[in-house]
């Protein structure tokens, strides 16, 4: 199973599933499936989503659980100084 941050990224942008779905050209229910982890995105959809969020694929998808955003930010701050 591949983990993803689709829900987090989508809600941060204040988008509904329908809006995100339209932006990447899939059915709005497909976004729901991904967010709930019912199945993985195809590689093609993964690229479209990463592209839409202007992130690299591994910022959006990962074979390992993502760190929390709090952790991510703390790490980023630590790395920067």
């Amino acid at each position: 199973m591949i983990y993803n941050r689709v829900k987090l990224l989508r809600t941060e942008k204040g988008l509904s599933r329908k809006e995100l779905a339209d932006a990447v050209g899939v059915n709005f229910q497909t976004i729901g499936y991904l967010e709930r982890g019912d199945y993985n995105a195809s590689l093609e959809l993964a690229f479209k989503l990463a592209d839409y969020f202007e992130l690299s694929i591994d910022m959006v998808f990962s074979p390992r659980p993502f760190k929390s955003i709090a952790q991510e930010l703390a790490d980023a701050k630590r790395a920067a100084q």
Copy 2:
């Protein structure tokens, strides 16, 4: 269609399809299909392959055709100086 560099990376390592397939846990014919562009890898397989080659996903897969290696090396050299 997603482009990939699987064949290039595999042959550079001197691996047969069977060997690469075993390393990432798929049938050797699946590697053949990917190399010929018959279909895309799943996101899961894409991660395994990128992992195996110790590269990020977008070094192995891309929604746009890859630059030739010659071009890639020339660009890298240019960027470095």
